[in-house]
């Protein structure tokens, strides 16, 4: 975040940020009035428009190398709310916009709202919620005020929960209820934190907070509660109880959104909190503790994923494990002796983005397999690679990205993290990173080998899979592979708006 002074004002292109947030809101309101039959058409127009806005913001920031900000209603913080876009936010924003757009393409087959003569339930709910998720994510990326971020988080949760139980089966309802209640528990803890912080500093603006924050009991309590609340919403091990049933039970397109996009929202807030709102507050012990949680997520999630019998559950557990990687950046970035800060953040964000693309592709592939076979038992996948070669290719590419083989984005992210482990002499995290990669490769290999193997009985496809769905999955998978190429330049954008040396260490 840029150093906010009393003079902080709306920057030249700041209005773009408002546009990015308003577009989905307009879409939601329009869908309510025009009815579900138009929801898809509205989304088909607004989601690409959102992507365009995201790309423009990205280019502006990349070229000018300065953050954008917009002061809503001309009321400056602490009284008002500022929207800010720095490198982290635009990178995430563009990635999420692309993923959401491709998921939209994929979802057309399942949630085509134009086939029925009247409004139908699932399409209406899906498209509106998809737009809501896109808006909420943008809000989370740009929000400069901790309370606005709370509202955005709730928006995200309320949009995500109905997607889990879109098909209304009992077990998905149960999963949705668990998800909702646990997420509410998480956000209420976050809210306690905002209350305490406001009580201590009289502002919730992130930049003002970073200038005023100091080490005292209420602040530490607030930071603790907010962090743990966000852990619960991100499903960091051992608070992941809601994730596997919810992500595995939802329809494929919804699983893709939930796994690729939604969990990144609360993760992003954790990053904002520790690196922007309260720089320097993270003690070494606490950062190691977060790292231990991440490491246990990687090991435990991967091992349990290895033992799953259903493909979608396997992918869901893989998400549990991959979330662990995201939190390894905290011990690496919070080492006060080394100023590795920037690269580690870049690595962590890249991991988040490459996981988003790869995991969305894998869930889509699993959904297509489910649609074609009528089940997703891994032991009976035989022959599917021959029936749906493009789908399984997409799955494999996504798997490569998760394993971290070059030139995928996963490789680049792991490279950066590994470099940081060595630079900060914390080799134990390096072991976890590479062990996680090996375990990941084991389950990717198991699935692929089953899929390429001969069928136990003659394969009967229950439904033809539309080509464009396969293409959407493959597109995302290719994206995750080509993400490694961002090292050629765009990766710099992640550093925009970061202070050269984190001032907090100098205290």
């Amino acid at each position: 975040m840029p150093a906010a002074t009393a003079l902080e004002a709306t920057t030249a292109d700041g209005a773009l940020l408002v546009r990015a947030i308003i577009l989905p809101v307009v879409g939601i309101l329009l869908s309510f009035v025009l009815g579900g039959r138009y929801a898809e058409r509205i989304a088909a127009f607004l989601l690409p428009a959102g992507l365009c806005v995201a790309c423009i913001v990205f280019l502006k920031i990349w070229q000018s190398e300065t953050s954008l900000s917009y002061i809503v209603g001309n009321w400056k913080p602490p009284l008002g709310i500022t929207l800010r876009a720095d490198g982290l936010s635009v990178a995430m924003m563009v990635a999420m916009a692309i993923v959401i757009c491709l998921i939209g393409v994929f979802a057309h087959a399942n949630f085509d709202s134009r086939v029925a003569s009247v409004e139908t339930r699932a399409p209406m709910v899906f498209w509106v919620m998809l737009m809501a998720i896109s808006g909420a994510m943008n809000m989370i990326f740009f929000g400069g005020d901790l309370f606005t971020l709370y509202v955005a988080l709730e928006l995200l949760t309320f949009a995500a929960v109905p997607l889990v139980c879109l098909d209304g089966r009992a077990e998905t309802l149960q999963a949705a209820l668990r998800y909702l209640l646990f997420a509410l528990l998480g956000s209420i803890l976050y809210l306690v934190g905002t209350a305490l912080l406001y009580g201590s500093y009289g502002t919730l603006d992130i930049v003002l907070m970073s200038q005023r924050v100091q080490i005292e009991p209420a602040t530490l309590a607030a930071a603790t509660l907010m962090t743990v609340g966000l852990f619960a919403k991100t499903a960091l091990f051992p608070l992941h109880l809601w994730l596997p049933p919810a992500h595995a039970g939802a329809p494929a397109a919804a699983s893709a959104v939930l796994s690729a996009v939604v969990v990144k929202g609360s993760f992003f807030l954790v990053v904002r909190l520790w690196f922007d709102a309260m720089p320097g507050l993270l003690s070494v012990a606490a950062s190691q503790f977060i790292g231990v949680l991440g490491a246990s997520a990687i090991i435990c999630g991967n091992i349990v994923a290895l033992r799953q019998k259903r493909l979608k559950l396997l992918i869901a557990y893989s998400t549990v494990a991959q979330i662990g990687y995201l939190f390894l950046m905290f011990p690496l970035a919070a080492d006060p002796l080394h100023l590795q800060y920037g690269d580690v953040l870049t690595g962590g964000m890249l991991q988040a983005i490459s996981h988003a693309t790869a995991k969305a592709a894998m869930f889509m592939a699993a959904g297509l397999v489910y649609a074609a076979l009528g089940h997703d038992q891994i032991s009976e996948l035989g022959g599917i690679a021959r029936a749906l070669p493009m789908t399984m290719f997409a799955f494999g590419l996504g798997g490569l990205c998760l394993i971290g083989l070059p030139p995928t984005g996963g490789f680049l992210a792991k490279w950066l993290l590994l470099e940081a482990t060595i630079a900060t002499e914390q080799w134990w995290w390096a072991i976890v990173i590479v062990a996680g990669g090996l375990l990941t490769s084991a389950y990717v290999f198991i699935v692929l080998s089953r899929a390429m193997g001969p069928p136990s009985a003659p394969l009967i496809l229950r439904a033809a899979v539309p080509k464009y769905q396969e293409v959407a999955a493959l597109g995302l998978a290719l994206l995750s592979v080509l993400l490694g190429l961002v090292a050629l330049g765009p990766i710099d954008v992640l550093q925009v708006g970061r202070p050269e040396a984190p001032m907090a260490w100098l205290r």
Partner: protein, 543 residues
């Protein structure tokens, strides 16, 4: 002369383009017939490139660099030759078999990876193409889709990825030591001797490349993989693909600096593997498995040469090792290809084919006038006169023995049809490879400036080369009388230990799964949440 970079780029882009063309179903259908053409640009590049100006891809800060240095060029040349022959051999071999398309894709992936590794000059590129090579090779191994093939593939990719993981850590460590932003392998090797993590890096490199090269005790994948792979695939894997690890050792390890401890370790491991492969190989019956163990032995020997070079800080050992490797590329390739040819040949025409096979095979043990003998002469210098040389002689005896064992096993696999002959399209590639394996080492040997190496036709050298072969032959005759008494050792010997570990693993997995299930209960998760809150709060207080 011709500038390097268009040729290098073409050498890499041509197979890559063929690979991408496979996305188009029509192209995929025909691709198996054109596999032989893919490595030709690489071969041409080796012949034409004379300078070592690098090919740089990408902007200034983070880029891939490719260059053709002498070791890389030598290996790439012979490897490309083998890939061409084996590609030509694969085309008829695949006729009428299932999964032709997948074979072509994996073949091209492995080929691209192989070429890329030989010409990569920076670590990211090296790693990238090594990974490609591993994935493609894995696909080739599981080609037949039998249970054995799957097991071999799993073992191969598991160890391969483990090796790559170790290498990744080593590379990251090396990258930290390179001054500036560059990731060139040359810089890394130069910075290694003064690195604070020197021993760790060397250990990781040796372990990583050792796994890829099949060094004991990481050799377990070798017999299974080569036995499972189709003959042309086994030929390129054992011939060309594993040499990537040799090249890696030469590129990364600082051979110009004397590192006695690491060198001794490497040499000891290599020599042990050289003998171990022979001993275990003797107990095997299937020709491909015998060849695989011979590969273990030969690779061990090459590693030992590199190790001896490290002890002395003698950079010339690298070239010696490369020469030995180059010979091995063609010989092993020809031998694996002969397995397919013999299988298609009846008793009547067996002898004319078996004879060259036997000559090349025994050549590996150092039969005078063959490439093997030349290779032995080349490595004689680096090995010195000490224990290593004795072991080398022992190994030569053993290799002869092993190769005779191979030929003996090969006879039993001949076609049951007395009149059968191998198809010409199968026969000629094999014959060319066999011929190349005899000619190319001579060509290379003669290219070395006179006076650097002794005259291979000198009588004492001829005798020195012949005597282990004769000893081996005598031993073979003696041994075959006792063959029933030889113990039966499963293919991959100590892999059974691994297998039993794999059997224990599910129990552990179940325990972890159960624990995870407990954690997923609502109230347990709630209590964890509270406990986390308190723990994090306390940890934060500890400022």
């Amino acid at each position: 002369m011709i500038e390097a970079y268009p040729l290098l780029a073409f050498a890499l882009l041509f197979p890559l383009g063929m690979l991408l063309a496979c996305l188009w179903p029509m192209a995929l259908l025909r691709m198996p017939s054109y596999l032989a053409f893919a490595p030709i640009p690489a071969f041409v590049a080796v012949l034409l490139v004379s300078d070592d100006s690098p090919l740089v891809v990408g902007p200034a800060r983070l880029h891939l660099t490719f260059a053709l240095d002498l070791p890389g060029a030598l290996l790439l040349g012979v490897a490309a030759l083998l890939w061409i022959m084996a590609g030509a051999y694969a085309s008829p071999y695949l006729q009428g078999r299932p999964n032709r398309g997948r074979f072509a894709v994996c073949w091209l992936t492995a080929l691209t990876g192989c070429i890329g590794v030989f010409i990569a000059a920076d670590m990211v590129g090296f790693y990238l193409f090594l990974a490609m090579l591993t994935l493609g090779a894995c696909g080739l191994i599981i080609q037949h889709e039998t249970a054995d093939a799957w097991r071999a593939g799993a073992l191969y990719i598991g160890l391969g990825l483990l090796a790559e993981t170790l290498l990744l850590i080593a590379f990251v460590l090396l990258a930290m030591d390179i001054p500036g932003d560059g990731l060139l392998i040359g810089d890394a090797a130069a910075a290694l001797p003064t690195s604070p993590h020197r021993d760790l890096i060397i250990g990781l490199l040796i372990a990583g490349f050792g796994m890829k090269a099949g060094l004991v005790p990481f050799h377990v994948w070798v017999p299974r993989a080569y036995a499972a792979a189709p003959a042309p695939a086994a030929a390129v894997l054992s011939g060309a693909a594993v040499k990537a690890s040799i090249l890696g050792m030469i590129r990364f390890l600082p051979l110009d600096t004397a590192l006695p401890y690491a060198g001794t370790l490497l040499a000891a491991a290599g020599l042990f593997a050289a003998l171990y492969g022979v001993v275990i190989g003797m107990t095997q019956r299937r020709p491909k498995v015998v060849l695989a163990y011979s590969s273990v032995s030969q690779m061990g020997f090459i590693v030992a040469v590199i190790g001896m070079g490290m002890i002395a800080g003698d950079g010339r050992a690298a070239l010696a090792a490369i020469f030995y490797s180059a010979n091995h590329v063609l010989v092993k390739g020809a031998l694996f290809l002969s397995v397919g040819v013999i299988a298609a040949t009846g008793r009547r025409y067996l002898l004319p084919i078996l004879l060259p096979v036997a000559i090349i095979a025994v050549g590996l043990g150092g039969l005078p006038l063959t490439g093997g003998a030349l290779a032995k002469i080349v490595v004689d210098g680096p090995l010195g006169d000490g224990a290593a040389n004795t072991v080398a002689t022992l190994s030569a005896v053993g290799t002869t023995l092993l190769m005779l064992q191979f030929v003996r096993g090969l006879v039993t696999t001949a076609s049951t049809d007395y009149e059968a002959t191998a198809a010409p399209s199968l026969f000629w590639p094999w014959l060319s490879t066999a011929a190349a394996s005899l000619i190319v080492p001579w060509a290379l040997f003669l290219a070395v400036p006179e006076g650097m190496l002794p005259n291979p036709l000198a009588p004492e050298l001829l005798w020195k080369a012949l005597f282990p072969v004769l000893l081996g032959a005598i031993l073979a005759v003696v041994l075959w009388r006792w063959v029933r008494r030889l113990p039966h050792i499963p293919e991959g010997d100590i892999v059974v230990v691994l297998d039993s570990c794999v059997k224990i693993a599910p129990a552990w997995g179940r325990t972890i799964e159960q624990a995870e299930g407990t954690l997923r209960q609502w109230h347990v998760a709630g209590i964890s949440l509270l406990a986390l809150t308190l723990a994090l709060g306390v940890a934060l207080l500890a400022q």
